[in-house]
């Protein structure tokens, strides 16, 4: 017998999460691949708090139950192109109508289509839970407590995050950067309905011939998306030219061979794409210097 809970608001959802053993269910597109007959599900997609898209001074704020299709069709906020590019390549329309950004993160698959982009954009997640009621307080309404974690810290391994059982991922925060170059490739065996063999997201901000920000993120080549700040720093400070950086990534990436692809293919393509991206970045830097 499957138990289902349909809370009306965030507070009720968090209370259920605290009181019962439930599996948070946003779009269900990953959960329903292996449905559990005995599980209890906590449905989230009707919660208004989890369906907002807005901006603050610093961030794009995306509710965790916002679907890919909603991200692609909304006009309220001008979201980074590279994120939309990744959303367009998720599965096919039926999945995009149900699947959510929060679900993609909490499923924590190294092949999650939006994850390399979110890593490259330095995204964070906001988690909420009910704070334990304070006994000597008159007001018995429990308060909601929040914490914000960088996505890179939140996801810990294959299908492993540091979400506590009573916590809910409610928002994704994406800093409003001014990237002058972004680059996204999802490599799969076919154009639609496919799990990535590997994916790559690159983002760079070049201003007047100066590389200000750089991010390279690789999906499906490790237990989590791979990003390496040290290599990025060395590229930014000029210690690595593109080829040296590619060599550094070659030493870093350790993909596996499985039923979908081979380790050598994954690695070769990652390095090809990184080289291509870094060459374009370098061209932008050089052009900027000439322009000064």
């Amino acid at each position: 017998m499957v138990n289902a809970y349909v809370p009306a608001d965030l507070g009720e959802a968090l209370r259920l999460l605290q009181e019962k053993t439930v599996i948070p269910y946003a779009g269900g597109t990953d959960i329903m691949v292996h449905p559990q007959a005995e599980a209890a599900y906590l449905f989230l997609r009707q919660l208004p708090e989890l369906n907002q898209i807005c901006t603050t001074d610093q961030y794009f704020v995306i509710g965790s139950a916002v679907t890919y299709q909603a991200l692609l069709t909304q006009t309220a906020v001008r979201l980074p192109d590279i994120l939309l590019q990744a959303c367009r390549q998720v599965a096919a329309p039926p999945i995009r109508n149900l699947g959510t950004l929060g679900g993609n993160i909490c499923n924590a698959s190294p092949a999650g289509d939006t994850l390399p982009v979110l890593y490259a954009l330095d995204a964070s997640v906001r988690l909420a839970r009910l704070e334990p009621a304070v006994r000597d307080c008159q007001n018995l309404t429990p308060t909601i407590g929040y914490r914000i974690l960088p996505l890179r810290q939140f996801i810990q391994g294959v299908r492993r995050t540091c979400r506590r059982p009573e916590e809910l991922l409610i928002e994704i925060l994406i800093p409003q950067t001014h990237d002058t170059l972004t680059y996204y490739e999802k490599i799969a065996s076919r154009k639609a309905q496919a799990i990535a063999k590997l994916s790559f997201a690159g983002a760079a901000s070049v201003s007047q011939g100066q590389l200000q920000r750089l991010a390279l993120a690789f999906g499906s080549v490790g237990v989590t998306v791979v990003r390496d700040s040290l290599i990025e720093a060395k590229i930014i400070n000029g210690s690595y030219d593109p080829e040296a950086a590619v060599q550094a990534y070659a030493a870093l990436l350790r993909p596996i061979t499985d039923q979908r692809s081979t380790a050598s293919y994954r690695k070769t393509v990652c390095l090809n794409l990184a080289r291509d991206f870094l060459t374009a970045v370098q061209a932008q830097v050089t052009a900027g210097r000439r322009g000064r």
């Binding site: 490599i187 065996s189 076919r190 050598s264 090809n272």
Partner: protein, 719 residues
């Protein structure tokens, strides 16, 4: 589409029990002992001891047991069935059965197999002399992979015991094949056997032979329990344990003199898997088509199917032809390139035409429409223009290529089978309400045979379509008009129906029940086929096709986007234009999957590695957004309204066309196997910086005059 169709799994049957199969998880082993958990009283074990007559399944031969007795021959071989009222309980019990195996080393590579199931030779002319006199001799080896039919509805049947009668209902292509297998398996345990096809969600050959296997297993279970027993395979089970397309290795040696191919010496090896199933017939069709659509004056063909400890391979759209047509089309293209000729021009100069001898010394009795199809393909695709333009491209990351392939389908059964074995019979039953029922054993498996049969009969009788009734075949009601295979249903059975309807019209009496029966007659023009020598007309006629693929390769990722795809087909005359277009488009995608995606492998222990749609990738419409399929009419005098075979063709030519396009885009030499995946592309591109890898480059080229002889530098290909 109304969603009203009931599949076998939807049927509600009183007292139904479920059957779950215990599959071997070893590729080759003796069974020392089987330890069952304590079984609840409602659960019954069914195994080889319960087979009432003989523990064998009749397909072509009888080598496959209903239940494995003391040895297993592949991962998936069925050892026993648990039968009971609760499927989940059966599944739990199955996982607790312990089998003590004595493991033997499995043979997974047919080239290393010592067990030859079938061995055929044929040929004509003076092969040795032609090679001695040749200007050039080329040879190369090609490989093709496994392919899964990937029908939407998995295999599933229900066996219902009656009073000395056994009824089997479910998903299938060939009710009378299933009936014959059941009659032999049950022997005297049943006086009557009835087989009923239910709505079937696709077959592609995958429900030609396998339903006979499951039917025998279920019938034995129904006999033992006295209750109806149902088994619907789950997707992983179906993909892991039921028949696939035969992998092949084809070696070609070709003599060229004065720019013409004068001889071919061809050696074909097919991987039969653990049992023979339909391998002899698949191999026959494969080797008959091995010289392709070309006039080859001197020919020698050798074909073998050998046993391996893998899933038995069986029928699949094209039935041996995709393997050899791939090889011969690549071979011809490679020779053209070596001789600095444009491949299409080289091929077009040696096409067969009406009146020519076939590979088996029969005749192309009818007009060969290939020149018309090529012309149409060029109009639509601008093949030659693009081929030349892409030969000059200088782009680094994205490079384009275009390729073309020419193929035929030998329509209907191979040889004299229609005359000697099938002897098709159809009936038309006019009811008192003047509605006419088509009684034939051909199954609608999504190819639309109900529609086309009804259209033929309605037109002959000048009746509205609604007055024609075509039910799913039930062997208690319909005569044996043969199986649903090889594009014979419409061409052969459809013609019988047209004749029956014409006769009915002559004797039509309103308000009276009338039955017309029509029997197959072998076309008088056919040169009788000698199966031992492969001599005579292998097929009554041929359908023709040209496939063109244009793609853009990303050299950084090894992936290719299809820019354009064209399939031009001579199916005689289409009885239903939309149905034919649907077949052609779907088949083209299946061919594309075969060419570059559908990768199915075994672990060293013989365990299939891709057993779900997540891991076994078939193309979707998004992969070929701009597919154009077109028909050129070429009526067949002996088919209904001029119709010939259709369904196989779109599958057959795509792989060679795709690979020729990919070769041009990669610009680093010959390609020689399918599926050619993105992984293969990158491997080859990185090798191309140095030398071709000797393992896959089997190409040799000898020229008569040493001065003319040059090493074939793959990077200097022309055209």
């Amino acid at each position: 589409m109304r969603g009203e169709a009931l599949y076998v799994d939807d049927l509600v049957i009183e007292g139904l029990l479920y059957g779950r199969l215990l599959h071997s998880d070893r590729a080759r082993a003796r069974i020392r002992s089987i330890r069952l958990p304590k079984l609840p009283p409602e659960v019954t074990v069914v195994d080889w001891r319960d087979a009432p007559a003989r523990n064998q399944i009749h397909i072509v031969q009888d080598d496959m047991p209903i239940f494995a007795k003391d040895e297993v021959a592949y991962v998936g071989d069925v050892i026993l069935m648990l039968v009971g009222p609760d499927e989940q309980e059966l599944q739990n019990l199955l996982s607790r059965i312990q089998i003590d195996y004595q493991e033997l080393t499995p043979v997974l590579d047919p080239q290393l197999s010592q067990q030859v199931f079938f061995d055929y030779h044929y040929g004509h002319g003076q092969v040795e002399q032609a090679f001695a006199e040749a200007d050039h001799i080329f040879s190369e080896t090609f490989h093709t992979g496994l392919q899964e039919q990937a029908y939407l509805e998995p295999n599933g049947l229900i066996a219902i015991p009656g009073n000395r009668k056994m009824t089997v209902r479910g998903s299938m292509q060939c009710p009378y094949y299933v009936k014959t297998a059941l009659v032999r398996a049950l022997g005297e345990a049943a006086d009557q056997v009835q087989v009923v096809q239910e709505v079937t969600g696709g077959g592609f050959g995958g429900k030609e032979d396998y339903p006979s296997v499951l039917a025998c297993q279920l019938a034995v279970a129904a006999l033992k329990t006295g209750r109806p027993v149902k088994c619907i395979l789950n997707r992983r089970e179906d993909m892991a344990t039921t028949t696939k397309r035969h992998p092949s290795r084809c070696h070609y040696k070709v003599a060229v003199k004065a720019g013409q191919v004068t001889a071919m010496d061809i050696d074909v090896l097919m991987d039969s898997g653990a049992y023979t199933t339909l391998s002899p017939v698949v191999l026959q069709r494969g080797i008959i088509g091995a010289p392709g659509v070309y006039r080859i004056p001197n020919l020698r063909v050798h074909g073998q199917a050998r046993k391996t400890n893998t899933v038995p391979n069986g029928a699949f759209r094209g039935f041996g032809a995709p393997q050899t047509f791939f090889a011969v089309e690549m071979m011809m293209s490679h020779i053209a390139a070596a001789l600095n000729q444009e491949p299409l021009a080289f091929k077009a100069r040696q096409l067969v035409s009406q009146g020519d001898e076939t590979s088996t010394g029969g005749r192309y009795h009818f007009y060969v429409s290939l020149p018309d199809l090529i012309k149409r393909a060029e109009e639509l695709s601008h093949y030659r223009e693009k081929r030349q333009a892409y030969a000059r491209q200088t782009a680094q990351r994205y490079r384009r290529g275009i390729g073309i392939a020419l193929i035929y389908h030998g329509c209907g059964f191979t040889g004299n089978s229609e005359r000697d074995f099938i002897k098709a019979v159809v009936k038309l039953k006019k009811r008192t309400d003047d509605r006419v029922e088509v009684l034939a054993s051909n199954a609608d498996i999504g190819q639309g045979i109900k529609t086309t049969f009804a259209k033929i009969v309605a037109d002959q009788l000048a009746l509205p379509l609604e007055q024609i009734i075509v039910n799913n075949p039930d062997t208690d009601k319909v005569p044996d008009s043969g199986p649903t295979v090889a594009s014979r249903s419409l061409m052969t059975v459809g013609q019988l129906l047209a004749q029956a309807a014409a006769r009915l019209k002559q004797v039509w009496e309103p308000g009276k029940e009338q039955v017309i029966e029509e029997h197959y007659q072998h076309p008088e023009y056919m040169i009788p086929f000698d199966m031992d020598r492969f001599a005579g007309d292998a097929y009554p006629t041929y359908s023709w096709a040209v496939s063109v693929v244009e793609l853009e390769l990303d050299r950084l990722t090894g992936t290719a986007d299809i820019l354009g795809a064209w399939g031009i087909f001579d199916v005689g005359v289409p009885i239903d234009y939309n149905i034919v277009q649907g077949q052609m488009q779907g088949g083209f995608l299946q061919g594309l999957g075969y060419a570059c995606m559908e990768h199915l492998t075994y672990s060293p222990a013989g365990v299939p590695q891709q057993t779900s749609f997540t891991d076994y990738i078939i193309p979707t419409a998004a992969d070929v957004p701009n597919l154009v399929t077109d028909l050129v009419n070429n009526p067949f005098s002996h088919g209904p309204y001029g119709a010939k075979g259709a369904g196989e063709m779109p599958m057959v030519g795509v792989a060679p066309a795709y690979l020729e396009a990919l070769e041009q885009a990669m610009n680093c030499g010959r390609l020689e196997h399918v599926p050619f995946t993105a992984e293969d592309v990158l491997d080859r591109l990185s090798d191309a910086d140095g030398h071709l890898h000797p393992d896959f480059d089997t190409w040799t080229w000898q020229s008569k005059s040493e001065a003319e002889s040059q090493p074939a530098d793959p990077r200097q290909r022309k055209g």
